[in-house]
Symmetry: C2
Subunit: 396 residues, 2 copies
Amino acid sequence: MVDLGTAPDVARSREADEPRDSLVARFGHDRPLKLDAGVELSPFQIAYQTYGTLNAERSNAVLICHALTGDHHVANVHPVTGKSGWWETLIGPGKPIDTDRYFIICPNVIGACMGTTGPASTNPKTGKPWGLEFPVITIRDMVRAQAMLLDELKIDTLFAVAGGSMGGMQVLQWAASYPRRVFAALPIAASTRHSAQNIAFHEVGRQAVMADPEWRGGRYLVEGANPRRGLAVARMGAHITYLSDAALHRKFGRKYQDRSNPTFSFDADFEVESYLRHQGSSFVERFDANSYLYLTRAMDYFDIAADYDGSVANAFKGSETRFCVVSFTSDWLFPTSDSRAIVHALNAGGARVSFAEIVTDKGHDAFLLEEPELFAIVRGFLDGAARVRGLPIPKR
Amino acid sequence: MVDLGTAPDVARSREADEPRDSLVARFGHDRPLKLDAGVELSPFQIAYQTYGTLNAERSNAVLICHALTGDHHVANVHPVTGKSGWWETLIGPGKPIDTDRYFIICPNVIGACMGTTGPASTNPKTGKPWGLEFPVITIRDMVRAQAMLLDELKIDTLFAVAGGSMGGMQVLQWAASYPRRVFAALPIAASTRHSAQNIAFHEVGRQAVMADPEWRGGRYLVEGANPRRGLAVARMGAHITYLSDAALHRKFGRKYQDRSNPTFSFDADFEVESYLRHQGSSFVERFDANSYLYLTRAMDYFDIAADYDGSVANAFKGSETRFCVVSFTSDWLFPTSDSRAIVHALNAGGARVSFAEIVTDKGHDAFLLEEPELFAIVRGFLDGAARVRGLPIPKR
């Protein structure tokens, strides 16, 4: 069985309200967040990070949208795990998303658990964690909250919005909901709607969480419990979908763990088993189980065409935004065909779009990994857009 | 959450010892089953079905090997579910595996829960269900037990062995372990070894079972419990891998269940969700959780090359068996590349082999579904082999 230790659950619950090493924008009762579910969320807060300096024209802002299990600690040491930011490879001085040149903002999404209001946050009406009382949210809600953050920061137009996976969904939603506020958009390993297979995988993860008696109908934080086993199983299953058969074969094959023969037991005989168990157990140390339910649900509901008479092209009709769509050959969760569909819709809508399919065996997770071709594409696309935008080229 | 009702667990436990509507071969202490784990299993029993009539030369026997969650009720109504046999499309009078012509034997595998000895059976030493005291078994052990059943039935040589998925693994193992006892072999949607990705998916399923507190360290039958939620989650996850993205899209797409708008809740909003939940809840009515652990483990351990100096070709060197290897284009669990590897190894070993890749969007499960091309291939291959074998052609 997965060894899950004992939990710093109280600390995680505190992180949801008072995030360490984060900026926090607070929105009071006068500025509610209008949700697709038909209710208003107020008060609420957004935890975020910034890197670099906003120029006098306020024209060099780049918004980074994180994926399902990511957060706003994109280019700094993570306060909970102590690990590097999840896109430090891409973001920094002289890097493709250049902090010497751009003002980078990365907010934690609505529904998450690292400082932006979500199910682990305190419900002001009860003084206890929201749990399942938290309203179900959508990708559009996440983006609407981010637009309020930009208003707060007095940034009218983003130079660029970039993100992978669920982050890429937000990028597409930004371009659809606020076309005049987005100069350039970079959706990576994304889709305009979640497929039946992806919904199915998410549903298994949710059922794994909800099958854990420690989930307590979503009230585990109030009751001092934590569905660690269920969440670990959900993460293990999801993690397989982020990789590829080829990558798993290359990394692990059928290699035994610390031995040369099978044990004829249910121990983690194979390296791939102990790797997965580690993925499960480390995830529960940093993530809230209910947030996992809410964010997977938001991804499942995502379907841009549904909001535009069934046509993705309508969503981007007459858009002035320049797009760069990126996919990876071995990504079977958001396959290249999904990215091609985005490109076709953008073309049909008359938008400017370039497209790159990167050859790699790393699967969906390639957008988070050392992938030089991705870095070159992001750099090239932003450099070109910056020239058009008239942003100064930094001296080196 | 999945509605799992209450369980006829006692009935299922009884089925393991005294299977209804089944033949049972009992092997006493004088005939132990030698297991790869280095121990002997005795006494043990094999539940099986037969269809058709064994000819005087005892030369028309066809062995059918079932898959992970199948059993020996291959061409009769299932005593627990009341459903048709899992290969009734293929087996019957005038059908591709013709009961007017062949004597068909289908045994329940060692480690299963429908009457052949497995973890749900009574351990004669304790008078209680084996649970995790049952030794870990392999595909080779399953085949070794089947060979003992054939000895019991005084069948020296099988006219054919056929099976899909884990059944296909047994077919390959039969041809490797007992080449002179197999005239023709039909491995469908199979592989000579389980891939890292497949081991990973199995491990998630096992962890889902073991994460359920009702599993009770494997002692649930003794303690009157049943890890229904964990097993249902395992089944839901596995079921996705048996289908294909295209099939799920064709069957369900993003259709909502009984409504036209999302509920903004964690109910089964999408049809694919309620379909999966049904798969999970119906599975636990007929399957034993520990059997699921043992049989997935057996598949993970399967690696024919490992027993033959790392070479699959060595396993089949000089084989007189004629093979027909079948794969399906949309099967991503046992992809065509796995079947091609079988064919290459058979070619390298000098064996007779034909190969067919069937174009379908039905995924791995295609071997169990209405697939006319498969039916035609099975019929044609067996007809041809029967001519060589000198079996009479039935009058119609």
